[in-house]
C-alpha cells in the first residue's frame, strides 16, 4: 500500500529532474530591457550620465547584489542606500558559492540579482556563460589597465603575502624570500590555506617568468618549503589562530587582516612576490534593476573606494580617496592573478598540483 504513491512520486520527480535538465540546456537568460539600459548609459558621460542614472535607479527603487566582499554589507551598502534611497538586498557567500548560485539560477532561466561582485577568475566564468553585461562608463577610463579583465573593471585588489605574529617572530628572523622557509627550523610553523592554488600559480609565474627560474628548480624549491607547511583551511579563522599565537607565520594570508586587527600581526617587511587578485562588481545581463545596478558599479569604483581601503583592501582608483596612503611601499613587485588560466580547465590542474604539493605527492606542477 505504501508502494504505489511512492512510485508515482518517483515518476513525478524524474519528470521534474528531466525538466530541469532540458531547461539547463537553454540560452543564458537575458533581459533585453536591461541591455538597452546599459547601452543607453554607455553612450552618456559625466554629470548628465550620473544624474539620469540616479533618476532611473531611484525609479527602480531596489537592487539585489550577490557579493563576496566583507566590507559591502556593513559600510558600502548603507552609504549607497543613504545617498540614493534605494533598497539593497545582499547575498554574501564565498566566491564558489556565489558562482554556484548564479549558475543554478541561470540554469532555471532566472536571474535574481542585478549585480555580482566577485574575483577575476570567477567573473571570467560567469562572463563565459554570457551572464555578465560589460561595464562601460567614463569612470572605467580612470582605472589602470592592469586592474581590468575581459569581464570586469576591478574595484580593488586582495593582496596575498606572508603575515607573521610579532610576539613569535622578530622582523630579523624572517627569511628574505620564499626559499628561506625551507629551513627545517620552520617545520610546521608556516601556514598555507589549502584553497590557495591561485597564489601558487602566481608564485610560479613570478619565479619562472620574472626571475627566470626553471620549472625543475621551482618544483624543487617548493617541495623544500612544503615540507614545513602547516595546511589550514579558512583565512579568517586561521588568521585568528595566527594572532593567538598558535603558529608564527601564515604564508598565503591576506593583507586586509592586518589593519583591521592590528594587534600582534605584521606583514613588514613585505616578502615578494605580493600577489594580487582583482575583484570588482558587474551588472547582470538579466538584471531586473539595470539602472540601479549600473549606479552601484559606478559607486563601487568611486565613493566606495575609501571603504574598501579602510577594510584593508588595495583600491584600484585611489584618486577617489582624499589623502590616500598606500599600505604597501611604492615599488613593491606585484604579481597579478592569472585569471585566464584559472578560469580555464588549467585552473583545476593547478588546484590538483597544489593539492599534490600539500600532500607530498608528485607532480607538483600541472602537466
Amino acid at each position: 500500500m505504501l508502494e504505489k504513491p511512492r512510485q508515482r512520486l518517483a515518476c513525478l520527480l524524474a519528470v521534474a529532474c528531466l525538466g530541469g535538465l532540458t531547461a539547463a540546456c537553454g540560452f543564458p537568460p537575458v533581459n533585453t530591457e536591461a541591455v538597452a539600459v546599459y547601452a543607453k548609459f554607455a553612450a552618456l558621460k559625466g554629470k548628465s550620465r550620473h544624474d539620469q542614472l540616479v533618476d532611473a535607479a531611484k525609479a527602480e527603487g531596489q537592487l539585489v547584489i550577490y557579493v563576496t566582499n566583507t566590507a559591502i554589507e556593513k559600510k558600502i551598502v548603507p552609504a549607497f542606500e543613504k545617498e540614493y534611497g534605494i533598497d539593497v538586498a545582499v547575498y554574501r557567500a564565498t566566491t564558489e558559492q556565489v558562482r554556484g548560485r548564479i549558475l543554478q539560477e541561470a540554469g532555471a532561466h532566472r536571474v535574481l540579482n542585478d549585480v555580482v561582485e566577485t574575483k577575476d577568475s570567477e567573473m571570467a566564468i560567469l562572463g563565459g556563460q554570457g551572464l555578465i553585461a560589460p561595464y562601460e562608463s567614463d569612470i572605467a577610463g580612470t582605472i589602470p589597465a592592469e586592474a581590468k579583465t575581459d569581464d570586469m573593471v576591478g574595484a580593488y585588489y586582495i593582496a596575498t603575502l606572508p603575515i607573521h605574529n610579532v610576539r613569535l617572530v622578530q622582523p630579523g628572523q624572517l627569511p628574505p624570500d620564499l626559499a628561506g622557509y625551507a629551513d627545517p627550523k620552520w617545520r610546521g610553523k608556516v601556514a598555507v590555506d589549502q584553497g590557495d592554488f591561485n597564489w601558487y600559480e602566481d608564485v610560479y609565474n613570478y619565479y619562472t617568468k620574472q626571475k627566470g627560474m626553471s620549472d625543475h628548480d621551482f618544483a624543487a624549491m617548493m617541495k623544500g618549503v612544503a615540507k614545513n607547511f602547516r595546511v589550514v583551511d579558512g583565512h579568517v579563522s586561521n588568521t585568528t589562530l595566527l594572532q593567538a599565537g598558535d603558529f608564527p607565520v601564515f604564508l598565503s594570508d591576506f593583507l586586509q587582516y592586518v589593519p583591521s586587527r592590528a594587534k600582534d600581526l605584521s606583514f613588514q617587511p613585505a616578502m615578494e612576490p605580493v600577489t594580487l587578485q582583482i575583484l570588482g562588481a558587474d551588472p547582470m545581463k538579466g538584471a531586473a534593476h539595470p539602472a540601479a545596478a549600473l549606479l552601484f558599479c559606478d559607486f563601487y569604483l568611486t565613493e566606495a573606494q575609501k571603504y574598501l581601503h579602510d577594510a584593508g583592501y588595495i583600491p584600484t582608483n585611489p584618486a577617489a580617496i582624499p589623502g590616500y596612503q598606500p599600505r604597501l611601499p611604492e615599488g613593491t613587485d606585484f604579481v597579478y592573478d592569472d585569471w585566464r588560466t584559472l578560469a580555464s580547465d588549467r585552473g583545476n590542474a593547478w588546484q590538483e598540483a597544489w593539492s599534490n604539493l600539500l600532500k607530498g605527492k608528485d607532480p607538483v606542477l600541472p602537466r
Binding site: M1, L2, E3, P5, R6, L9, A10, L13, A14, C17, G19, G20, L21, V64, I65, T70, E73, A89, Y91, R92, A93, E96, R99, G100, R101, Q104, E105, G107, A108, R110, E122, G188, A191, Q194, R230, V231, V232, D233, G234, V236, S237, T239, T240, L241, Q243, A244, G245, D246, F247, Y257, S260, R261, A262, K263, A343, G347, N348, Q351, K359, K361
Partner: protein, 583 residues
C-alpha cells in the same frame, strides 16, 4: 498484536469492481488512513527530492549520458583514496565509541544511579550543541593546542608537560565526541528511564554482581537504543565537515567531506564526482544501518510503559558515588564551563588574546552593545526563530506519525519508510543545498527566495533525529494502552491525542528541542539557500566571523546559549508535567 496500517481486503475474496466496492472501500477509510497517507507522501517527497537529485547528478553527466565516471574521478585508485576512506572510518568509528562511552555512561549515571549533580548532566548534554560550531573547534584549539592551549599551559606550569594536542586524530575524535555525546545521552537516558528495573533487581537477587548486571541485563535491555544511538553518531561523524577541516588538515588527516568541498571549489563543478562522494557516504551509512539492524537497532522495541505500576529505581553507588560525581563535575567543566568561559571571555574583548592581567584590563561590553544595536543580527535571530520553530514542529509531527507506522503497524512498507526517513542524515549539507535550489528554482511557488526553502531544508535534514526521538518515545508506550483506548470507543485520532501523544510527550518535546537547537546552527545548506534580506542566524554568525568579528560572534554565542538554555529549561518543565505521573 497491532493493527494493520490499512485494513486489507480479506484474502481469497475478490468482490470485483463495481460501485458497491468503491462505497465499501470509502466506508473503511478512516482518519488514520488519511493522516498516514498524507504524512508518508510528504515525507517521501521531502526526502526523495534531494536523494533523487543526488542519484541523478551522480549517474547522469551534464550531457545527459549515464555512467559511473564520477566514481572514478572521486575515488581514483591510489593510496590517497584509501587513506581518505581509512581516515573517515577511523574518525567516525572513534567518535562513535568515545561518544557512546561518554553519552551512554552519563545517561546511565543520570537515570539509574544516585550520583550527585544529576541535573548538571542534562545541561552538559545540550549546551555544547548551542555553542556555534564555528566557535567550538577554535575554542578547543585555544584549550588544547600544543602551542597555545590553556590546558597545556596549566599542566606545563604544574608538571612541566604539555600533553594535549588537539591537532591529531584523537583531538578530532575528542571534539567530535563532545559534540555527539549529547544525542547519545538524550536517546539513552530515555531508554534507561523506560527499562524495567525489576529485571535488574531479579538479577541482583540471583547473585549477579553489579558489573554483570550492567553488562548482562541492563545493556541488553536498552540494546535497540544503544544500536540506534551508535548509528546516528557514526553517520553524523561521517558527514561532519568543520572539525576535520579545523583540526585534521595540518596533520594531513583528510576525510571524505574534505574531498567533497575540494571538488565543489572546482570549475566546471564536477557534480558527478561530488555525488559519488555522497553515494560513498550513503553506502558506508547503509552498512551501518544494516549492522545496527542486526544488533536490534530498528525502531521496533518492546513496549515498556505498560499499564502496570512501575517504579524507577536507582542503583546505590556507595563509595563510588563521589568518584562518579567527580567525573560528572569534570565533564561538566570540560564540555560546558571551559568552552563557555572562553566564549564569555572572548566576547568581552575586541580581539582575542591569551588570558593575562593586561587582557583583563581590556574587557568591555562593546560587543553586546553592537549586537543589540544591529538590526541585521536581530532580524536574522527572528528569522531563525520562525524557521527553527516551524521546522522542529513539522519534523516532529511527521516523525511522530511515521514512527507510529514503523513501531505500531505491520505494514510491509514500514522498513522502507524507516530507511527513507533516516537517509537525509547522510546527504551532505552541500548536496542538500544544491538539490533544493535546483528543484525549487523550477517551480513557480514562492519557495526559492523565501524562508520556506530553509524551512523545507531544515525539516528534511532533521527528520532522522525526529524519527529517533519519536521512535524511542512511542516504543516505550505499550501498544495495549492504545488498544484499550480504541476498544473503549476512542477513534484513532482521539486515541493519538488523548493517550499516545501525552504519554510520548516528553520524548517528542525532547526531539523538538533538539531539532530547534540544531536548526539554529545549520550552516552548510543555509549559506546556499538563504535569501538576501532574509538572513538566518547561522549565516550571520558565519559572515561576522568572516569579517573578522570573532569576538562579536562569541557574544552572539553567549546570548544564544542564554536564550536557548532558558527555552530548554522551559520545555523540560513542560515535558516533566506531561507523561506518566510518577510522584
Amino acid at each position: 498484536m497491532t493493527q494493520t496500517l490499512l485494513d486489507r481486503p480479506p484474502a481469497g475474496h475478490d468482490p470485483g469492481p463495481g460501485p458497491g466496492m468503491l462505497r465499501r472501500v470509502l466506508a473503511r477509510v478512516e482518519a488514520k488512513h488519511v493522516v498516514v497517507a498524507v504524512v508518508v507522501l510528504l515525507l517521501g517527497y521531502l526526502v526523495l527530492v534531494p536523494l533523487g537529485f543526488l542519484l541523478w547528478r551522480t549517474f547522469v553527466a551534464d550531457d545527459g549520458s549515464a555512467g559511473l565516471g564520477g566514481f572514478a574521478r572521486a575515488f581514483p585508485n591510489d593510496s590517497d583514496t584509501w587513506a581518505m576512506i581509512g581516515n573517515t572510518l577511523a574518525f567516525a568509528f572513534g567518535s562513535m565509541v568515545v561518544s557512546m562511552v561518554i553519552g551512554g555512561g552519563f545517561a546511565y549515571l543520570a537515570e539509574r544511579t544516585d550520583v550527585p549533580f544529576r541535573r548538571l548532566l542534562s545541561l552538559s548534554a545540550l549546551i555544547p550543541l548551542i555553542i556555534p560550531a564555528i566557535l567550538y573547534a577554535p575554542a578547543w584549539i585555544f584549550l588544547g593546542s600544543s602551542n597555545i592551549g590553556l590546558l597545556n599551559n596549566v599542566t606545563g606550569f604544574l608538571f612541566g608537560i604539555r600533553p594535549f594536542d588537539v591537532y591529531s586524530v584523537w583531538g578530532m575524535i575528542w571534539v567530535q565526541s563532545l559534540h555527539s555525546a549529547p544525542i547519545v545521552f538524550l536517546l539513552l537516558s530515555a531508554a534507561f528511564r523506560a527499562a524495567d528495573p525489576s529485571m535488574e533487581e531479579a538479577a541482583r537477587v540471583a547473585g549477579l554482581g553489579r558489573w554483570r548486571v550492567l553488562t548482562r541485563i541492563t545493556l541488553p535491555m536498552v540494546k535497540p537504543a544503544l544500536a540506534g544511538a551508535a548509528l546516528i553518531v557514526f553517520v553524523q561523524s561521517l558527514e561532519v565537515f568543520e572539525i576535520p577541516t579545523f583540526l585534521g588538515l595540518s596533520g594531513g588527516h583528510y576525510v571524505l567531506t574534505s574531498k567533497l568541498y575540494y571538488l565543489y571549489q572546482e570549475y566546471p563543478t564536477d557534480y558527478q564526482a561530488i555525488g559519488a562522494i555522497g553515494i560513498g557516504l550513503l553506502v558506508i551509512a547503509c552498512v551501518g544501518v544494516w549492522l545496527a539492524g542486526r544488533a536490534g537497532g530498528s525502531l521496533r522495541e518492546s513496549g515498556t510503559i505498560s499499564g502496570k505500576a512501575f517504579r524507577p529505581r536507582r542503583e546505590k553507588l556507595g563509595r563510588g558515588k563521589w568518584v562518579a560525581a567527580l567525573f560528572v563535575l569534570g565533564y561538566f567543566v570540560l564540555a560546558v564551563v571551559l568552552p563557555l568561559l572562553i566564549l564569555l571571555y572572548s566576547s568581552l574583548l575586541k580581539n582575542y588574546e591569551q588570558p593575562s592581567l593586561q587582557a583583563l584590563g581590556d574587557l568591555n561590553l562593546d560587543n553586546y552593545r553592537t549586537l543589540f544595536g544591529d538590526s541585521g543580527i536581530i532580524h536574522s535571530f527572528e528569522h531563525t526563530v520562525v524557521v527553527a520553530v516551524c521546522a522542529a514542529t513539522a519534523a516532529m509531527v511527521l516523525s511522530a506519525v511515521a514512527s507510529w507506522v514503523v513501531v505500531r503497524t505491520r505494514s510491509s512498507g514500514r522498513r522502507l519508510l524507516d530507511a527513507l526517513a533516516f537517509s537525509p542524515l547522510v546527504i551532505p549539507g552541500l548536496v542538500f543545498g544544491v538539490a533544493l535550489a535546483v528543484v525549487y528554482l523550477r517551480t513557480s511557488l514562492p519557495i526559492y527566495g523565501t524562508l520556506v526553502i530553509l524551512f523545507i531544508a531544515y525539516t528534511t535534514r532533521f527528520i532522522p533525529y525526529g524519527m529517533r526521538y519519536a521512535g524511542a518515545a512511542l516504543s516505550t508506550v505499550s501498544a495495549e494502552l492504545e488498544e484499550s483506548a480504541h476498544v473503549s470507543g476512542a477513534r484513532w485520532f482521539e486515541t493519538m491525542r488523548r493517550v499516545l501523544l501525552p504519554l510520548a510527550a516528553p520524548g517528542l518535546i525532547g526531539g523538538w528541542v533538539y531539532i530547534l537547537i540544531v536548526s539554529f546552527r545549520e550552516l552548510q545548506s543555509s549559506i546556499l539557500l538563504y535569501t538576501p534580506g532574509k538572513e538566518v542566524l547561522s549565516v550571520t554568525i558565519f559572515q561576522e566571523y568572516q569579517d573578522g568579528n570573532t569576538t562579536l560572534v562569541s557574544a552572539i554565542g553567549v546570548v544564544l546559549v542564554v536564550v536557548l538554555t532558558v527555552l530548554v529549561v522551559i520545555s523540560q518543565l513542560i515535558a516533566a508535567r506531561r507523561g506518566v505521573r510518577n510522584q
